[in-house]
């Protein structure tokens, strides 16, 4: 454990709520509006932390545990990523499956809480969320397989760390394909356009927002914060794959990561301004395309 690792991790965890703000601000700017301040989510979180919580009479313990489980799993997943470009804080062989599993666990908790409220509306959101997950997870694992094959390493610390920089010249096409696939997953997993529209509260069009409708106060704050961290984690994956930082000084690598995350948030904002949300029955196609890109990367490396 080095100082650079800890500082980068803290910077990512503290800076994560700014990313959705940057995306929203970019979108507002491009569509000719002013938009909320970049740091809006911090104010929202502070406000939610002070408020009380309302629990429905039908909700059980599950509903109260879910936000904490979600946040805990996302934060644990953050420990597995080598954020300084060298090694992760708690890496072990095969931790890429743990990474995917932890993200799935968080989603599972959220979906259960949605079902627990007994509202048919939230059940619908839960069903949609799981539909997306069923298509997104094979794509995530395929993209990670590209990294495994390129670097011959089975831990995220190795795959995204120094061996990645060595693997780049030989496996550049596959790694670019994996990066593109991961970016498409970032849009899907974080409920951004073209999968889901974070700006809408219109009942039939939203997916992710539906599940959290019943949550309030600090619970909702935890969910929003976990969402921001998840956005940062996927962003960190994309940046790590596309910019191998193993050769840089750890501090420089951390700074590159933060700059890359901001750039990705801007890119997401541009996509949101330029594209409309896809129809529900076209969503699998988007994710299958992401899986096909990653699968093509795998094929290129197996040759």
């Amino acid at each position: 454990m080095t100082a650079a690792q800890v500082v980068t991790l803290l910077a990512v965890l503290l800076g994560a709520p700014a990313l959705p703000g940057i995306a929203t601000r970019t979108k507002s700017f491009l569509t000719g509006r002013r938009g909320p301040p970049v740091l809006q989510l911090y104010s929202d979180l502070a406000k939610l932390a002070r408020k009380g919580t309302v629990y429905s009479r039908t909700a059980t313990l599950l509903f109260r545990v879910a936000p904490v489980a979600l946040t805990a799993s996302v934060l644990t997943a953050a420990l597995l990523l080598p954020l300084d470009g060298r090694a992760s804080l708690f890496g072990f062989t095969g931790d890429l499956v743990a990474f995917a599993g932890l993200l799935a666990l968080g989603r599972f908790a959220l979906v259960l809480a949605g079902l627990d409220t007994g509202s048919s509306f939230e059940g619908m959101g839960a069903s949609r969320e799981v539909t997306i997950a069923a298509f997104a997870e094979p794509a995530l694992l395929l993209a990670l397989t590209v990294l495994v094959l390129a670097t011959r390493s089975l831990s995220l610390g190795g795959m995204l760390g120094t061996p990645l920089a060595a693997a780049w010249p030989a496996a550049a096409p596959s790694l670019v394909l994996a990066g593109a696939s991961l970016f498409m997953l970032l849009l899907a997993e974080n409920a951004r356009v073209p999968i889901d529209d974070p700006a809408t509260h219109l009942e039939l069009t939203m997916i992710h927002e539906v599940i959290v409708l019943d949550h309030s106060g600090p619970d909702l704050g935890l969910i929003l914060y976990a969402g921001a961290v998840k956005f940062a984690l996927f962003g960190a994956l994309v940046v790590s794959v596309l910019v191998p930082r193993g050769r840089f000084d750890p501090w420089v690598a951390g700074a590159i990561l933060l700059a890359g995350l901001a750039l990705i948030a801007v890119l997401v904002g541009i996509i949101e301004a330029a594209m409309a949300r896809l129809r529900m029955d076209r969503l699998p196609q988007f994710l299958v395309a992401a899986a096909a890109l990653a699968g093509f990367g795998v094929i290129l490396l197996l040759r």
Binding site: P173, L177, P284, Q285, V288, A289, A291, A292, L293, G295, F296, I299, L300, L302, R303
Partner: protein
């Protein structure tokens, strides 16, 4: 130079996926046009050093595959006023999956083919994959115009395959092939136009109803 040609070949495969995944006809045609432009750059990237033969081949390909034929097809959809491919025999998601399987298969098969040494290891598998994708589009889409695009993609695959032998094939043969495709698509365009006028639709499924 092989890095650049590998990049071109990868982009060719990506345009294959694009054709398989898109529903809009104009987007399909645009993908075919971009693929044509990529193919035009390929011979020059593959064989460094200038020769009249290769430059001619590249320019001819660019003119026919990237400019004239797509422009002609775009005009055809304007006149026939069709916008979307509806009711394909195999759905779009499934055909992207099928395309991925085709790519995997062609990479597996290409290693076993007893071929003279190609310039880059990607050339033969990409050619096979493009041929199969063209075949998928040709057989599973219902609009006559998409089928023409499928035919173009199929021919692009054959062209990539021919590039591995470009040094040995006389220029006249290349020109003949290009001319063939041009005439083929031209005739198909006219046929498509007539189908549309007779039936008010471009769906080839309705051709089975043709009775005298």
């Amino acid at each position: 130079m092989t890095d650049f040609s590998d990049l071109l070949l990868l982009l060719v495969v990506l345009t294959d996926f694009w054709v398989l995944g898109t529903t809009r006809l104009s987007s399909t045609i645009r993908a075919a046009a971009i693929q044509g432009a990529l193919l035009a750059a390929l011979p020059i990237a593959l064989h460094p050093g200038f020769s009249i033969h290769l430059i001619g081949l590249g320019l001819g390909t660019l003119l026919v595959k990237a400019i004239v034929l797509p422009g002609f097809l775009q005009r055809a959809i304007r006149e026939a006023s069709v916008r979307r491919e509806v009711e394909p025999v195999i759905g779009f998601t499934a055909s992207v999956c099928l395309g991925a399987v085709a790519v995997a298969l062609s990479f597996a098969v290409a290693q076993r083919l007893p071929l003279p040494e190609a310039q880059t290891a990607l050339l033969v598998p990409v050619a096979l994959a493009t041929v199969i994708v063209g075949l998928i589009v040709l057989t599973t889409r219902s609009k006559a115009l998409t089928q023409v695009v499928g035919y173009l993609i199929l021919e692009n695959g054959i062209y990539v395959f021919g590039l591995s032998q470009a040094e040995r094939v006389p220029f006249l043969v290349d020109v003949g092939v290009l001319l063939d495709v041009f005439v083929g698509v031209f005739i198909m365009g006219i046929v498509v136009f007539h189908i549309n006028r007779e039936f008010d639709s471009l769906s080839s499924a309705r051709l089975t109803e043709l009775k005298d």
